[in-house]
C-alpha cells in the first residue's frame, strides 16, 4: 500500500504528453466509469493530441489494468483517424 506522498506523486505524472493529461486525471476518468482506452480518451482527451496516442495508449492500458483489473489483451487502442501525420491545410489547395 503506497503512502500518500507517493500516491500524490504518481497522480502528477504526465501520461499523455501531447495533451498533458496526468495519471490522476486518467484514474479519475476510470472512477467515473471509463473501462476502455477510448472511454478514457473521451473523458480526458488523452490520445487526442499530435501523436494520436502513440505514446500514451499502452500506458493508459496499464493504468486500466492496475485500477480495475482489465487484462491487457482485452484493451484495444482507440480508433486512429486520418491523417497519420499532420498535413498543412495549404497542401490541399488547388494547383495553379
Amino acid at each position: 500500500m503506497r503512502d500518500q506522498t507517493a500516491k500524490d506523486e504518481a497522480s502528477a505524472i504526465v501520461i499523455c504528453r501531447c495533451e498533458e493529461i496526468t495519471r490522476g486525471e486518467i484514474v479519475d476518468a476510470i472512477r467515473r466509469g471509463a473501462r476502455s482506452i477510448a472511454a478514457v480518451k473521451r473523458r480526458t482527451s488523452a490520445g487526442m493530441g499530435l501523436c494520436h496516442g502513440r505514446t500514451c495508449t499502452r500506458l493508459i492500458a496499464e493504468i486500466l489494468r492496475e485500477e480495475v483489473g482489465i487484462p491487457m489483451e482485452e484493451l484495444k487502442p482507440a480508433t486512429v483517424r486520418p491523417p497519420v501525420r499532420p498535413i498543412l491545410v495549404s497542401a490541399f489547395e488547388e494547383e495553379g
Binding site: R17, E20, G49, L50, R54, T55
Partner: protein, 96 residues
C-alpha cells in the same frame, strides 16, 4: 546524438558544414543531420515548453513518434526535429 566513430559502421565520412539560425543565434551544423542532433551538439536540450504545465520538452523517443521535439522550422510549426534534416539557412524557433 552525433556519432563520429561507430564500432560497426566505422568513421563518419566528412560532411558539409552549414549554418542554421536558432532565435538569433547562428549555429554550425552538418548538412543532412537531424536538427535535434545539431541543437544537442550545441548544448541546447530544451526545445519548447508545454502549453498548460510549462514543462520543458526536447528529444524523447528520437524516432519521430512522440512529437515532444517539435519546433517551428522555416515558419512551419509542429515540425519533428529528430527526423527533419538540417538545410543551409534553416530558421528554427521554439513554439508556444
Amino acid at each position: 546524438m552525433r556519432i563520429l566513430e561507430h564500432p560497426i559502421l566505422g568513421k563518419m565520412p566528412p560532411r558539409k558544414v552549414v549554418k542554421i539560425e536558432m532565435e538569433g543565434r547562428v549555429l554550425e551544423a552538418f548538412e543532412g543531420e537531424p536538427i535535434a542532433a545539431a541543437l544537442t551538439a550545441h548544448g541546447i536540450c530544451v526545445f519548447r515548453y508545454t502549453r498548460v504545465r510549462k514543462e520543458p520538452r526536447g528529444i524523447s523517443c528520437a524516432i519521430g513518434q512522440c512529437t515532444d521535439c517539435v519546433m517551428v522550422v522555416n515558419g512551419i510549426p509542429n515540425t519533428r526535429t529528430c527526423v527533419t534534416r538540417v538545410e543551409d539557412g534553416m530558421k528554427i524557433q521554439r513554439q508556444e
